[in-house]
């Protein structure tokens, strides 16, 4: 187990800079998830930590050691790859034990360690099988086992659940989280799936275009997004964004509708964006903030998502799962002032 520090980490390919000075401190035993769209630099950052990509600038510390110039094997890390990267010509036992080949442990000690890891992962009965005799989830477990067997300071996961079907992904998500609670190693986990990030992380690092947009706990990034990108990336469906102006003590939307908000750090007349999560925008029978016509209804069981046209904008709101409105109905929508977010229209930054 160890801490991890990234200091002004830069990555360039020729003249093109793809990572622009990443700074991050990861505590010992922390589960940190890097999340962002394709090309945001999350996998590149992970590969730089692993030593698979050269560092163009900045420093990486694992524990107290500066590891910039160390080979991957010298960094005391283990990595689980998206396509598992388990060797098809070796049995599960050999695959899990592969990382111990260069270890100075005796054969008995190595076998004992492999058996321990297999027991933790529930794979004791599968040790003599070949990878082609395993299911997707079992293969993923072998890949995790191979990483675990060396008891590394830091675990690196590069989108390890992307190749699994939805049900198995949920199951493996839970297993990895349990595993972390059990072994307590520092984990850096890369994914483009915000649900994975929310459900697994102690802290989430949201990236875009080679910059960190926000670092925080899942609840922080959900309830206090730093900017419009984070607000829309985290949470499904995305946050509703309504453009307007800051007038007096509230937002005046494009259609002239005024919505009062608590004091915000916005100047009079400034262009702003009002953000409301679909979960917080509720179809009501009483007085509402907005009224509009239902375009589409998406029943989810417990709740129903309704797409409502409000003066030229389409917003997503939540309705009862039992008695949802129908397409074409006119509905009223309401939200509490404390659940609304305000952003600067130009910079996209949150206005607290």
């Amino acid at each position: 187990m160890a801490t991890l520090s990234l200091r002004n980490l830069v990555k360039s390919y020729g003249k093109v800079e793809v990572l622009h000075g990443i700074n991050l401190d990861v505590a010992d035993g922390e589960f940190v998830v890097f999340v962002g769209p394709s090309g945001c630099g999350k996998s590149t950052t992970l590969r730089m930590i692993a030593g698979l990509e050269e560092i163009s600038g900045g420093e990486i510390h694992i524990g107290e050691r500066l590891v910039n110039n160390l080979e991957p094997k010298e960094r005391d890390i283990a990595m689980v790859f998206q396509n598992y990267a388990i060797y098809p010509h070796m049995s599960v036992r050999k695959n899990i034990g592969f990382g111990l080949r260069t270890s100075k442990l005796s054969k008995e000690a190595k076998d004992k360690r492999i058996d321990e890891v297999a027991a933790i992962l529930g794979m004791t009965d599968l040790l003599e099988r070949r990878p082609n005799q395993l299911s997707g989830g079992q293969r993923q477990r072998v890949a995790i086992g191979r990483a675990m067997v060396r008891d590394p300071a830091v675990f690196l996961f590069d989108e390890p659940l992307s190749n699994l079907d939805a049900q198995l992904r949920t199951q493996m998500r839970l297993e990895i989280k349990k595993l972390h609670q059990r072994v307590g190693n520092t984990i850096i986990f890369v994914t483009h799936d915000q649900v994975e990030a929310m459900t697994m992380a102690d802290r989430i690092v949201i990236m875009k275009d080679g910059y960190i947009q926000q670092v925080g706990t899942p609840l922080e990034v959900y309830h206090k997004p730093a900017n419009t990108f984070v607000a829309q990336f985290i949470g499904a469906p995305s946050m509703n964004m309504l453009p307007g102006k800051w007038v007096g003590k509230g937002v005046k939307l494009g259609d002239g509708l005024g919505i009062d908000l608590p004091e915000r750090n916005a100047s009079e007349g400034a262009d702003v964006i009002l953000g409301i999560r679909p979960d917080d925008l509720v179809v009501t029978g009483g007085n509402g903030l907005f009224s509009g016509t239902v375009n589409i209804v998406e029943p989810l069981g417990a709740d129903t998502l309704v797409y409502v046209g409000v003066n030229g904008h389409e917003v997503i709101a939540k309705a009862s799962g039992r008695k949802p409105p129908k397409a074409g109905d006119t509905v009223k929508l309401t939200a509490k002032a404390g659940e609304m977010h305000l952003f600067d229209a130009k910079s996209g930054e949150a206005l607290p």
Binding site: A50, G51, L52, E71, P72, K73, I77, A78, M79, F81, Q82, N83, A85, Y87, P88, H89, F98, G99, R101, T102, R146, R150
Partner: protein
């Protein structure tokens, strides 16, 4: 009932067009079979003729009948009792095995490096290697001979083997196959502490086993049947390979075709065995190289 009858009865038009479609299909199949049969006959005739001649007496050799009038196995007894034949057989075997092992090792090594390492000029190196495929052996024989003469390799095993210890075709084949090995495998091994040679040997090589088998067979067969270069570089009868040795049967005025054919028939057996054992690898290797090329 009437309506049912109408419903199940096919229209005459449909019946006719279906029948003509069937006959067209049958005709197409017949042509395909005929072409394949013709091709098969063309391929097998030299072998049949070789075996047939090996069972003939010298007086019947120039009689082109396929079934000998007086079949004999005397030629086989003669060839197998001739000590030179064993020597040539061993020469061919040693040369083919060493060259095959060397070519497979170095072709895979170079193919891997060209595929997986990003270094300046790697495309240039690859194209340079590929371009040698366009030079016919007949043209290379002269520089090979001059080299052999300068280094004192004439009439030695090394002299016969050196042009084949690494092949451009094998390098190309292996490079294409290594493209199919995901980098994640190699990176996982790198993180697990293997050095670059170990990664190649322990991880990448087992993953391209079909290609290695296919290449091994190609190279073995190529060396086993090589004629021009061994003929030029060897002087003494003891250093002859099997094809060169067989061609020497006979004297200034007469060629002993029945003995040559007998030796050829015997020398075909090892290649036949190798091919039958590994043919599935060859087919898979060629198919995969084609797909990925």
């Amino acid at each position: 009932m009437a309506s049912q009858d109408i419903a199940v009865k096919p229209s005459t038009d449909a019946l006719f067009s279906g029948s003509s479609r069937n006959s067209r299909r049958n005709m197409g199949q017949f042509i395909r079979w005929a072409l394949l049969f013709g091709g098969g006959i063309l391929m097998i005739m030299p072998i049949v003729f070789m075996v047939s001649t090996s069972l003939k007496f010298p007086f019947e050799v120039y009689n082109l009948n396929l079934i000998p009038e007086e079949p004999t196995i005397e030629n086989y007894t003669y060839v197998l009792e001739d000590g030179r034949f064993y020597r040539w057989f061993v020469n061919s075997l040693v040369i083919s095995i060493i060259t095959t092992a060397s070519a497979v090792f170095f072709d895979a090594l170079v193919g891997y490096a060209l595929c997986k390492f990003k270094f300046p000029g790697r495309y240039l190196v690859f194209i340079a290697i590929l371009s040698t495929l366009m030079i016919p052996t007949e043209m290379l024989v002269i520089p090979w001979y001059l080299m052999s003469k300068s280094f004192g390799w004439l009439d030695t095993y090394w002299g016969i083997m050196f042009p084949g210890v690494m092949t451009a075709f094998g390098t190309f084949l292996m490079k294409q196959f290594f493209e199919t090995v995901p980098d994640d495998f190699l990176e996982a091994a790198r993180i697990d502490g293997l050095n670059e040679f170990q990664i190649w040997w322990q991880v990448a090589m087992p993953l391209v086993r079909p290609a290695l088998a296919a290449l091994a067979i190609f190279v073995f067969l190529g060396n086993w049947t090589a004629f021009i270069w061994p003929l030029i570089v060897t002087n003494s009868v003891e250093m002859y390979t099997l094809p060169v040795g067989l061609s020497s049967f006979g004297d200034e005025v007469d060629v002993a075709w029945e003995l040559i054919m007998t030796g050829a028939a015997i020398s075909t057996l090892p290649t036949l065995v190798v091919f039958l054992i590994f043919q599935r690898f060859i087919i898979r290797g060629v198919v995969m190289a084609g797909l990925k090329g």
